[in-house]
Each structure stands twice: as C-alpha cells, then as structure tokens.
C-alpha cells in the first residue's frame, strides 16, 4: 500500500517537472488533468478517519472535476478564444525546470521543520505537496497567458489536496470538496473572462491588461 502511495507521490512530482518544461498549452492541460486524477486517487490509499466522508465519494468527485470537467472547460476556452499554442514563459524552459528542482529542495527543507500529528505518514508526502504548491505559484508568476495562470492555479490546488489527503486522512475531504467547488466556479469564470479578453484585445496576454487603464482615462 505505502509503495503505491510513494509511486503516486513521485509521479505527481515528475508531472510538476514535466509541466514546467512543456511548451504547449494543450500538454499543460493534459498534465494538469493527469495530476489531478492521481491526486484524486490518494484518499483511496490513505487510511481515513471514522466519521469522515467516504473516500470513494471524495475521490470520485475530485477525479470527475479535475480529470474531466476542468480539462474540458480549458480545452473549450483554448478553442473558442483561438489561443496560440505556445506557453511563452518568462526566463525559458530550462530555467523553469531547474527552478522546479530548487522548489522541491525548498519543500524538502520546509517539511523537515514541521511537527506532524501522526508519525506514520508517507515521508515524501509533505515535500512533494509543498513542491506542487510552489510550482503552481511559480506557473502563475512566470507564464504570461491568462489560461496558463488558470492551470497554475489548478496545480496549486493539487498541492493543497495532496497535503490534505496525506496528512488529515478523511477529515479534510469535506473542506476539500468546498474548495473544489470554489475552483470550479473560478475556472468557469476564468473561461468566460479569457473569452472576453480575447474578443476585446485579440490576445490574452495578461502583461497588457494595464492598457485597460489607458482606455478608461482616454474616455
């Protein structure tokens, strides 16, 4: 059982690195979907606390949302807004990849300094969930397009979910589902926003959103 948990956790970490080095938005959405599915499987493998939500239900909901609905919404936004396929990072892909390793080392350092309520947790759970969390934040900072920022947000949520699933057993899953609903709404709204930004400005580059200011003052 712990071996499977270990493999899922390492796969999540590798998907982080893949995400940082992949240049196509289409690939990024797929990676986020696979990672969401893997993370969604975690409640099935971790011992849940009595009185918590059934792990099967929680796992089903998160996999359904992150593995099916979000990718569908994002692919739809990609198609409707006619976005160019490249990711356009600040700083290039090799640097992003090395940052990924640095973020994992940071997560490792951070997880060594925490006190855990339960000594029998998978040793890799904390560092990888921190690394996933940092990767999400890094994607939001370093990728120019609105849609890649949404993907960064999803990765960030995967990190939080992994942390919750590994450390709090079933207790956190109710909270998780609430967060999932929030994110569902967020992705939905972002999809609409991306479409509208695209229709107004012919691009979805968030760097250029400051031009909005000029339009308002010129009126």
């Amino acid at each position: 059982m712990t071996m499977w948990v270990d493999f899922i956790i390492v796969a999540v970490l590798l998907l982080d690195l893949m995400m940082l080095s992949s240049s196509r938005i289409r690939n990024c959405i797929q990676i986020a979907a696979v990672q969401g599915t893997l993370v969604g499987l975690m409640p099935l493998f971790v011992e849940s606390h009595p009185g918590a939500l059934s792990p099967v239900v929680a796992s089903f909901f998160s996999i359904f949302l992150k593995g099916v609905v979000f990718p569908w919404l994002l692919f739809r936004a990609l198609r409707e807004a006619n976005i160019r396929k490249e990711v356009e990072p600040i700083g290039g892909y090799p640097l992003s990849l090395l940052m990924g390793v640095v973020m994992f080392a940071m997560g490792f350092w951070l997880s060594k300094r925490l006190l855990y309520p339960d000594p029998f947790v998978p040793a890799l759970g904390a560092p990888v969930s921190f690394a996933t969390f940092f990767t999400g934040v890094f994607l939001i900072i370093s990728r120019m397009k609105a849609i890649t920022q949404v993907i960064g947000y999803l990765i960030l949520e995967n990190g939080i979910y992994l942390f919750g699933a590994v450390f709090l057993g079933g207790q956190s899953l109710l909270v998780e589902l609430a967060i999932l609903l929030d994110i569902f709404a967020a992705v939905f709204v972002m999809g609409i926003t991306i479409f509208h930004i695209n229709r107004e400005f012919d691009h979805i580059d968030t760097q250029k959103l400051s031009e909005l200011k000029d339009i308002i003052t010129s009126k």
Partner: protein, 303 residues
C-alpha cells in the same frame, strides 16, 4: 586474482562487439542486412596497419590527444566491477576518480580538436564542452544517490551488494537514477537524441567533427576508446539490475554479457525510433537528466 585479470581482458576485448549488436539492431529496423557483428574489430585492425598524416599547424597536443584519451578510458576500466564481482582496483571514492578520468579523456579530445585550427572542429569542441557541463553533474548526482542508498563509496561496493534488492524500498530513486544515467549515457556516447554518429554535416556534428583530422593509428585509438567508454557507462546501467552474485563467476559473466547486449539492442531501438533533437534543444534534454538526478538525490535524504 585470475578472475579479475580475466574480467579486465573481457572488457577490453568485448566492448567493440556491442557496437556490432547496436548496428545490427539499427539495420534490422531500417530493413537492411547490416554490417558484420565484428565490423568494428575489422575497422580498428585496418586502421592500426595504416600510417597517419599530420597537418603542419598541429603540435604535440594533437598526437597526445587520442593516446591520453584512450589511456584514461582504459585506466577507468580498472575501477568498474564486472557482473557484481569486485573490480581490479577499488577504494572509497573511486566514483569521483572515474568521472574525472572520463573528464580527462574528453579534455584531451577537445584540446586535440582545437589544435587543428579548423573552425568546424572548434564548433564541435565548444558543443562537447557545453553538453558535458550538464551531463557531468547529472552523472555525479546519480552516482551519489546510488552511494547513499547502498551505503557504499566505491563502484565495487555499490554493485556487489546486489542492487536489485534495493528496488522495492528505493524504487522511485532507482527509477529516476536510471532515467538520468540513460540520458547521460546517450549523450556521452554521442548517440541519437543528442548526436548522430552517422551524420556527415559538419554544422550539426558534435563528437564526430572533433576527430575528423585524425587518421590511421590515432583514429583507431579514438574508435576503440569510444567503444570501451560505451561499455563502462553501460555497466552502470546494467549494474542496477544485478542481483547479489551467487551463481559462480562463469554464470554471472554470461548473464552480464547478455545484459550488456540487451542494452545495446535498447540503444539501437532508441536510435531507430527517435529523431535527433534540434541542437538548441539538447541542453534542455540534458537538464532533464540533471533535474531527475537532483530529485533522486534529494529523495535519498529522507528518513
């Protein structure tokens, strides 16, 4: 001791054979019959009978290049264990000596290339050094991870503990290390995703362009050195699947030679199915190896 001498001689005699297996695999995928399995031996012996022509712009460095490279690689082969049996020489930290011996071999190849004063060879030299910049730390971190997992500091120690027994516990680490070492293996031996050994367009050649001006005996040394290097780095990959040695030296050796041939077939399949990477993408590919090995090393630090 006789076994140790035998295994040293086996490494030196069998390594060109792997290239035969590799070329046969590639020929099979291309639908050709392919060159004989012993083609590299024929080539080397043919070249050894020939004389060499030296350009007047070259100095002693050009002549020293192949000699130093080959002797560094052969020295390195003293350190590499055979099928889980200890190497001829072993001491704590011979991992580092091994990597620097390969570094010395590369350094002299590059010096000899620069000594010719040819602009194409200069380009090849610059690329070789740039890619080594990423490949070397990746190899270092991979071997350091193996050393940490097995608790041994020498090659013989690491590979005689029966590395395969560590897989169930350290599966993710070995998985990552294998990936990283495989990428380094392809890059160091100038195989396809990084460099194409068959290409003859100077603009995109890396390793082959550096040795264009060498001929005769010198070129035989270079070909032979490349074959031995292929064997040595391949040993690191095959060694990760070795059990603890128990079946006697002969049986272990047979299994090991089979493993190395399978490795050559795998490289042949990779070469036949993948396209070569764009030159600008190669550092990115090697950084993936670096990232994998760094992650593996961090994973060994848990507990």
């Amino acid at each position: 001791m006789p076994a140790k001498i035998a295994q040293f001689i086996l490494v030196l005699t069998l390594s060109p054979f792997l290239f035969g297996v590799l070329n046969r695999t590639k020929a099979f995928f291309a639908g050709r019959k392919g060159s004989p399995l012993l083609q590299l031996y024929y080539d080397i012996f043919k070249l050894l009978r020939k004389g060499a022509v030296y350009s007047t712009t070259t100095t002693w460095v050009f002549i020293a290049g192949p000699v130093v490279s080959l002797s560094a690689v052969i020295t390195a082969s003293f350190l590499i264990p055979w099928a889980g049996h200890p190497a001829v020489i072993q001491f704590d930290g011979d991992i580092i000596l091994f990597i620097y011996l390969l570094g010395l071999a590369r350094f002299f190849t590059v010096l000899a290339a620069l000594d010719t004063g040819s602009s194409f060879e200069g380009m090849g030299a610059s690329r070789e050094m740039q890619f080594a910049l990423f490949a070397e730390p990746a190899l270092f971190l991979s071997l350091a991870s193996l050393a940490r997992v097995t608790g041994q500091m020498s090659f013989s120690g690491i590979f005689s503990t029966g590395v395969i027994n560590f897989w169930p516990v350290y599966g993710p680490v070995f998985f990552l290390v294998f990936g990283a070492v495989f990428i380094v293996f392809l890059a160091e031996n100038s195989r396809i995703p990084v460099d194409d050994p068959n290409t003859h367009l100077e603009l995109t050649m890396i390793h082959e362009v550096m040795v264009l001006d060498h001929g005769g005996v010198d070129f035989a040394y270079i070909l032979y050195g490349a074959a031995v290097k292929f064997w040595l780095l391949g040993t690191l990959l095959a060694g990760m699947f070795l059990g603890a040695s128990s079946r006697g030296w002969m049986m272990d050796s047979a299994v090991f030679i089979l493993q190395m041939s399978v490795l050559a077939v795998i490289v042949g399949v990779v070469e036949s199915t993948l396209a070569r990477l764009r030159l600008l993408k190669v550092p990115h590919f090697l950084i993936i190896a670096l990232a994998l090995s760094a992650v593996a090393f961090i994973l060994t630090m848990r507990s």
